[in-house]
Subunit: 236 residues, 2 copies
DNA sequence: CGAAGTTTTGACATCGTTCAAACAACGTGG
DNA sequence: CCACGTTGTTTGAACGATGTCAAAACTTCG
């Protein structure tokens, strides 16, 4: 439940892999490179500021005074976010891997700001429904589908299966889904045993049965096959 | 968990209490009167539409295909909301009592729309943290404080106590807080026994100790005094 | 009074948490 | 190359906060 550090066995920063370690500037957008765990968009920055992710992964976190953390959204490439106006909690945006963001301003991109706000609202509403009314399995299925769409790996979608890069640790997933990291681990392995997903390395997950996963994510699955308890078969 | 009807022992519509049952039109805003349970802002309305509550109470609800309901926000007078852009769920705005809303348009009130979106985002982020990371007691304390601020009753704030009109049923509160109606009832009565709140009629609640309630809402209380289990005193 | 809706309360079940330990992957320094 | 520390993951056992089921007590209204 407490603040977890980001994965340490990190990948090299993609931007550094480019020519000479210098990021290219196509037009002349203001860019900013974040290392895993680094935060951005704090209260001391201008309220009109807006960020767009070019590469990497950002989590928006709410922090309770006693250390409990709630990740309210996970953003991948092309998603935008603004400076959070403070509520009761402390809010931060944290990089989950080496991340490159474009720094914009509401005044220079008014439409983008409005669209970003609308999109954020729609996602947040869905996430609230997930947090308040879904089981661990349903939550996990939703997370997998969302992440697969945001962080797809090319060339790996044969036979209806998709694969994606998982930048989040089990603890991060737990803080996103309102679960504990143990429950996330158990649910994920349960899915694996059921043939819904597959993973060997920590960073790469394959959705082997996205169809069933989507049914589960929508809350349409048989509750029996979803509980955490290992199915101690009741022999009919 | 399923869709509940709104309270039936309803109050007379405030607007109808005014001269001759005709609502006055100070400037000439477009008004709309809603009866309890009535919905507004569905997908068939223009996306640019915006509503502002003048009197009453509106709940924004997300519905899962199997009937599970998540109320994502509860709005009182002066709060605004727009048409929800559809996500995976079905979204509706539902009146919790006789409610009067002002019908606006994004184009005629651009600032209001942006402000409403920002406010909605901030509240929703906080609510996500509540749903994902708070106990039943913490959730309930937050709800009471929020409702007391939005639906205050005049003349009743002696000795640091406030009172408010509760338009929501236990089932509504449960769907807002991600709990069951039984848990809400137990928690509320526990607060009552602890001297934190008081209520006799269903519609009127008094915060007799808002200070302690706020501490609890922030998650700073001793977990011991918060569990649902009736405190079967461990005699020191 | 009877009907309908709502709230309260009790007994019990269970999903998810908590606590604990082992395992795995990776980087570092000797 | 290997022991070791660190971080993350998996798994088991037991517990407990909350859910589920059921019934009684209220409240309001016709």
């Amino acid at each position: 439940m407490s603040i977890s550090e980001t994965r340490h066995n990190v990948l090299p920063h993609p931007a550094l892999l480019r020519a000479g370690g210098v990021a290219p500037k196509p037009e002349r957008p203001v860019l900013r490179l974040l290392t895993p765990g680094e935060t951005i968009g704090r209260e001391d920055e201008p309220a009109s500021r807006l960020y767009r992710i070019r590469e990497g992964c950002i989590a928006l976190c709410g922090l309770l005074p006693d250390g409990r953390r709630q990740i309210t959204d996970v953003l991948g490439p092309d998603r935008s976010f603004g400076r959070a106006q403070a509520g009761p909690e402390h809010y931060i945006a944290q990089a989950m891997t080496f991340t490159e963001v474009e720094v914009l301003d509401t005044s220079t991109a008014p439409n983008l700001a409005a669209d970003a706000a609308q999109a954020a609202l729609a996602r947040l509403r869905h996430h609230a429904t997930l947090l308040g009314r879904m089981t661990a399995a349903e939550k996990t299925a939703n997370a997998l589908i969302d992440l697969a769409r945001q962080f797809p790996r090319k060339g790996r979608s044969a036979g209806g299966s998709q694969s994606f890069t998982l930048y989040l640790t089990r603890a991060d997933l737990a803080d996103w889904l309102g679960l504990t990291l143990e429950t996330v681990s158990r649910t994920l392995n349960r899915f694996k045993r059921s043939g819904l997903i597959d993973f060997t390395q920590a960073e790469i997950v394959v959705l082997t049965n996205p169809r069933q996963l989507k049914i589960m994510a929508a809350g349409l699955s048989n509750p029996d096959q979803m509980s955490i308890k290992e199915s101690q078969k009741s022999h009919a």
